[in-house]
């Protein structure tokens, strides 16, 4: 897939919570395709931040060419991005990485932890258009970490867990009672904190359900040149930016 570098104009900055927001840009019509699970490298201008920041594609509408990025403020770079307003410039290198496997007419389960849910909305919408039966399980520390439930509910049945119990069932995502119902899932997709994805991977392995996870290793270039973002796979060290960020758990040394 061809990659681009573009200076785009921000068309929306929507605050979701104290530390999360959505940036939206319209990409030029020559950008043919952006896949669920892919990411962009965002330049943080007018700041001391040196490297670009890899941000997953939250949603992409191929009719309007609107691309949205769900961002959590974790440091100086993302804080600066949160202050951008409509009309500001956003320089991005995109679309990067491989994307999730899209199944058709299957029972699928999407498991997101905190802001790890970011790439799952676009995935849910894409799977919905392919007539999949979609279950979505969201986990967080508290209810503030569970975002956009109404958006996800458009595409499937949503279940929640929080560590505090203030939203959904109390505990981790893998503790949710609905997972004990032994629904014959054909595919599990997950994105979130590493311990959560490892627990999801263990759940999938026991039940022989194919599982894809999206990794978020720190990276510099995003295009396979610096070799900084590698993860250990059964075929040696692989760049998360080009061979991932989505990996089938069978390929990972987990």
């Amino acid at each position: 897939m061809k990659k681009y570098i573009h200076n785009l104009t921000i068309t929306k900055n929507q605050k979701l919570s104290d530390d999360t927001f959505i940036l939206e840009v319209i990409v030029p019509s020559d950008v043919q395709e952006i896949l669920p699970g892919q990411f962009v490298e965002v330049q943080v201008e007018n700041s001391t931040v040196f490297l670009r920041r890899p941000i997953s594609v939250h949603d992409f509408d191929s009719k309007t060419n609107s691309l949205s990025l769900f961002i959590k403020i974790v440091g100086e770079g993302t804080r600066k991005l949160s202050t951008l307003i409509v009309g500001d410039n956003l320089n991005i290198v995109y679309p990067l990485g491989n994307g999730f496997t899209i199944t058709e007419q299957r029972n699928v389960l999407l498991i997101g932890g905190g802001c790890g849910a970011a790439p799952l909305l676009f995935l849910a919408r894409t799977l919905f258009l392919k007539q999949n039966n979609i279950h979505i399980l969201m986990g967080g520390r508290t209810d503030i970490d569970i975002l956009e439930i109404e958006e996800f509910e458009k595409y499937g049945t949503v279940f929640c867990t929080t560590e505090t119990g203030c939203c959904g069932e109390k505990g981790f995502v893998t503790d949710h009672s609905f997972l004990k119902s032994n629904i014959p899932f054909d595919m599990i997709y997950s994105c979130g904190p590493l311990p959560m994805m490892k627990a999801v991977a263990a759940y999938s392995k026991i039940r022989n359900i194919p599982c894809e996870v999206s990794l978020e290793n720190t990276m510099a270039c995003g295009i396979g040149a610096c070799l900084c973002c590698v993860t250990e796979t059964t075929e040696g060290n692989k760049c998360v930016c080009t061979e991932g960020p989505v990996f089938n758990i069978e390929k990972l040394k987990w």
């Binding site: 330049q43 040149a225 070799l227 900084c228």
Partner: protein, 304 residues
């Protein structure tokens, strides 16, 4: 029309802008963004005799005005390069150099001998300055004797251009440059990364899996400029300058300090088009200053 071309020995470069090893993959990674053929040259990823997996993750830490890396020469080995990568990249109409790395002198010789057979590779960059490998690497580049001996052995087997990439992690880089010049190096490139370190205060753990790593980016530029100036005044062979070059002004500063050519490294990670932008902006600078040929300003630093 200004003349941007430069020469190293008999080899012509259409302009003085090259890309640094380890920051530009094999060129192909940048095909979507630029026409690689517009560059003076590219230096591909460090190549060793056998496959190397490199160091464990994490390998990178962002630092003020720069970054640390500890990749550790991950590459699939010279035979893989010759069989699978060279056939794809030999189409480039620019000077493609292979960065040759090793743990022992025998390794360096074996890689150089194989690369010598590749028609479309006009030269090698001898990497005696990688700070991220346990054996060899920088060890060869931090004493005059070992730098000289590896250069001497490679000169016996490698017939084309040899650029020796120098380490800044030394007391007197000019004497190292002189020692490799004496053994037949055609050029020296400097600087490789500066040995550095990053600590996470919350966890009291190092950020890099290897604890230490190589610092690059604008943070190292003043050190690199100083070293290019010192080496330029010590040797007769062309000097290739690199270290934190982010734009054409940086590049021109290196040329004024004595660099015949420059390499763009870490900047490629931030702007994949930066290398060709630098070529265009150097041309504009020359037109603005009525400089007909870039060679007029090499080492033209006005001290008084």
């Amino acid at each position: 029309m200004v003349d941007l071309s430069v020469k190293i020995k008999s080899l012509s470069f259409k302009n003085p802008v090259m890309t640094a090893s380890g920051t530009f993959g094999y060129g192909e990674e940048f095909d979507d963004f630029i026409d690689v053929n517009q560059l003076g040259g590219i230096i591909v990823k460090g190549t060793t005799i056998a496959n190397r997996e490199g160091n464990p993750y994490p390998r990178m830490a962002e630092t003020p005005s720069g970054m640390l890396n500890a990749v550790g020469l991950q590459n699939k080995g010279v035979d893989y390069f010759i069989e699978h990568i060279y056939p794809r990249i030999k189409k480039y109409a620019t000077n493609v150099f292979v960065n040759v790395s090793g743990s022992t002198i025998e390794d360096y010789i074996a890689v150089a001998e194989k690369i010598n057979e590749l028609e479309k590779i006009p030269g090698i960059e001898l990497n005696i300055s990688c700070p991220n490998v346990k054996q060899g690497g920088m060890a060869f580049g931090t004493s005059c004797e070992s730098a000289a001996s590896v250069t001497k052995e490679i000169r016996k087997v490698y017939k084309k251009i040899i650029i020796v990439k120098l380490s800044p992690n030394v007391t007197d880089i000019a004497s190292i440059a002189k020692s490799v010049e004496a053994e037949g190096a055609d050029s020296v490139s400097l600087i490789n990364t500066l040995l550095g370190m990053a600590v996470n205060a919350e966890t009291r753990k190092p950020i890099l899996s290897t604890v230490t790593g190589g610092l690059s980016g604008p943070a190292v530029k003043p050190v690199a400029l100083r070293m290019v100036w010192q080496v330029y005044n010590a040797v007769k062979i062309p000097v290739i300058g690199l270290g934190g070059i982010m734009n054409a002004t940086d590049a021109i500063e290196f040329i004024i300090a004595g660099a015949t050519a420059i390499q763009v490294g870490t900047a490629n990670f931030i702007d994949p088009q930066v290398s060709v932008k630098i070529v265009a902006s150097i041309q504009e600078y020359m037109e603005r200053h009525h400089i007909k040929s870039i060679s007029e300003i090499i080492g033209s630093l006005k001290i008084k």
